[in-house]
Amino acid sequence: MSAISLEQGLLEAAVTALPPDALSAVREAAVASFAANGFPTTRHEDWKYTNLSAAAALSNTWLQDKPAQNEAQAVAIDTEIPEQIDAHWITIINGMVDPDSLSNLDSLIDNGITVSRLTDGVDEGSIIVDDPMSAFNAALLQDGLYIKVADDSTLDKPIGLLLIDDGSVAVTQVRIVIEVGENAKLRIVECPLSAGGDKQFSNSVTQVVLSDSGELDFVRIQQRQKHHLNVNRFAARLKRNSVLNYNNFEFGGELARNDIVADIVGEGASVNLLGLYLAGGRQHIDNHTRVDHRVGPAKSTEEYRGILNGRARCVFNGKAIVHAGADGTDASQSNHNLLLSDQAEIDTKPELEIYADDVKCSHGATVGQLDKSALFYLRSRGLDKDQATQALTRAFASAILSKLAIDECHEYLVSAVDRQLDALIDEE
């Protein structure tokens, strides 16, 4: 496919046509910033395997119609998630925060938790634009969520985010801004879902600042429909002794690209990235992670696992950069893949760039098939081939599930993984 680029003129016209609001200045600044680069193409090293032409084409068509102001409308979507995961749920529909779901959280202010809409007002410079897709996100931003946890505060349950693209808007932008105060703790479960039969493109950005000794556990469970195009960026800045546990479960979508970025600027900080991707059919799932160790001592660990069937194509690129002077850095990365079909493909690349002297770093990647002798062993006990495959793939995935950062979603995820594996194995 030859590269289709986003038409800058269409973007400018659409942004100009949007009625003025609290985010007008953010949008205007971002349009200018976006103009410098446009959508990344496969000529960019970081986007070598992931082609955004379909997303650009869909965006061009949609921009031509000059999108009107979005409204958050209560939509009926078939999900049992809020019943199954105990959390304070907020619904975001097509990028717009559902005000009713938000008002349920008003009382959290007593716990030191402030949750508000970006349309309620943002400080200048608070919406970060640090790559082309976050610029595109900001250029079309009409709303978003701001979560702030005051110093020394914590919450009994996680905050749950239902990110729903209901099909009425072809291209959506979600922005979540999180600030965790000193010695404060926040847990978030994010569940992107979609409805409607048409192709959709969602471009989301979560930006996080963790103050000294602040802690964030974040679990993303992406189960969008098969024709959905997802681009998602999660960028966190970690100050002294802060902790980030980010768990990423990618099951849905025709395309899912994640950029997980952690910037360690404070000594004693710790980043733990965990991921599981299950892909079949012609799904394309690309996880790019980057941890910058700017100071030491600090620690980062990363473990991503993938199970692929059909003609699925997955990409893992995990980069840890240990900057000059970041002595005492401890960084490890691993990526393990199980290929259930001959035509599935994984491109894996754990990377270390080390400019400091006193560091401990390790990385490794494996790509394999189901263990034939284990398969025969299980079958010799009476389990049929699918059942044995299920058991072995589930075991492979359990290495990630057993380290889940948020207990409240464990049970749900175990059954979601089972469902997804069943569907994958059935494909053959």
Binding site: Y377, L378, S380, R381, L383, D384, K385, A391, A395
Partner: protein, 252 residues
């Protein structure tokens, strides 16, 4: 009807023929020991009966209770009542031992038209059997054979056999690598299953196990076929005179 009827079995991997025309009849209730030197085809025989896909059958027939076994998938053979105790049981981290045991029991029950086993009843059976085999109940909640010692793996095989109650058990070198306590525990497990309706084939290199599990027949396998059959005294003779004795007798 014979439990197992093998006639002129020729089998191997690719073009490498390992079994070169083996015949064997096992009646219900009988315990047979198949002995032979390394490389004589003992494990191949066990794996061919269980249906391992690496092995090709070129000629001959294998019948189980009058049914052609070679047409069945490995899981179908298991559900019909064949159990293979592996020489080297695989470690399967992440697959729970109890899960496997229960799934195996339920697969068989389903095949027999029965509902799933009651969870409480299952645990009771598993725990009782483990006690008999002198196994710690915590093994139930570990990954299948994960981090088990050689002896623990073999006990785990016997545990599965005892819970599944097969009609035909083929135990491949179940005695190898066992210390005397483990050997006795494993032998106890096997003897407990001796039954007029059940047949057991012990594949072994040494006659040590046969001191504890007394076979009705002993066969000597050499170069892919049975070269000598007799009662348990044959095992003792072998122990004394070595395998060269039968090899020479066979080629003479």
């Amino acid at each position: 009807m014979n439990m197992l009827e093998i006639k002129n079995l020729r089998a191997g991997i690719g073009d490498t023929e390992i079994l070169t025309g083996l015949s064997l009849s096992v009646k219900p209730g009988e315990v047979h020991a198949i002995m032979g030197p390394n490389g004589s085809g003992k494990s191949t025989l066990a794996l061919v009966i269980a249906g391992h896909e690496d092995y090709e059958v070129y000629e001959g027939t294998v019948e189980f209770l009058g049914k052609n076994l070679l047409d069945l998938e490995p899981e179908e053979r298991a559900r019909e009542g064949i159990f293979l105790g592996f020489q080297y049981p695989v470690e399967i981290p992440g697959v729970n031992n109890a899960y496997l045991l229960k799934a195996a029991v339920n697969a068989k029950r389903k095949h027999e038209g029965l509902g799933e086993i009651d969870a409480f009843e299952f645990l009771q059976i598993a725990r009782e059997t483990m006690a008999m085999l002198d196994m710690d109940p915590s093994f139930l909640n570990r990954g299948v054979n994960e981090g088990f010692s050689g002896g623990e793996k073999k006990r785990n095989e016997i545990l599965q056999m005892a819970v599944l109650k097969p009609r035909l058990a083929i135990l491949d070198e179940t005695d190898s690598g066992l210390d005397i306590d483990a050997l006795k525990a494993v032998a106890n497990g096997i003897n407990a299953l001796r039954d007029p309706e059940r047949s057991i084939v012990l594949v072994t290199h040494y006659q040590r196990l046969l001191d504890y599990v007394e076979p009705d027949f002993v066969h000597v396998l050499s170069q892919g076929k049975i070269v000598r059959s007799g009662d348990k005294s044959l095992a003792l003779q072998l122990e004394e005179r070595g395998y060269d004795w039968v090899r020479q007798a066979a080629s003479a």
